[in-house]
Point group: C2
Chain length 123, copies 2
């Protein structure tokens, strides 16, 4: 899987990396049980520091997307807590949709955007 990092973005590198991996899972470019590159390899590959990759991996582990061990490195392993996921989705979408609503995005248009995004996922 190709990881694209924007060094000019105001978003932290480890957050960009974490988001890319989550998008990779949603697009089935990364599957349950699959191993990610080691923190050192990926860091070399992207051209960033090992600790930045480690920070992204640790965050993904804490958020329930990865398991880490010393045999196989970082392995995709989704920990599903649907109540938690629902709650987080609600919180994150509230501000996002409020912004849109202020700018005249209708409910129907928002539904359309949601469908387009889900269509783009290769589930």
């Amino acid at each position: 899987m190709i990881i694209e990092i924007d060094f000019n973005s105001s978003e932290a590198l480890y957050i960009q990396l974490r988001n890319q991996i989550i998008l990779g899972i949603a697009n089935s470019k990364l599957s349950e049980g699959e191993s990610l590159p080691s923190v050192r390899d990926l860091a070399d590959n992207i051209g960033i520091n090992m600790h930045t990759v480690n920070k992204a991996y640790a965050l993904l582990k804490q958020e329930g997307y990865l398991k880490l061990d010393r045999r196989n490195g970082a392995v995709i392993c989704i920990d599903i807590d649907k109540y938690k996921a629902y709650k987080e989705l609600m919180e994150q979408m509230t501000v996002t949709l409020a912004k849109g609503a202020c700018k005249g995005i209708t409910r129907q248009e928002a539904h359309k955007v949601l469908d387009e995004i889900y269509d783009s996922f290769q589930l």
Copy 2:
């Protein structure tokens, strides 16, 4: 309108403040043409620094929610750029929905969440 700030949140104070004001607009607690408190008053009221409020106001201005002048202070004034709003909505929802999709949130469930949020807005 009541502004609630969580000093224990990891989210920056001026971002929380900006989000609260956007939510206020989406809930019609703040209307087009209405004046916000002066940066000094609001800062005193919340218990934060004047510059933090000013930072939130400047951001809201830059994002097209406010106009600022020396006569009336900060006045709600929505600058609608629908293309831009659409694009931003798409970008912000993509990662959010990817997270949900990884955690087993179905398209139908996401639509339901969206409806609940739009229902909560007093447009």
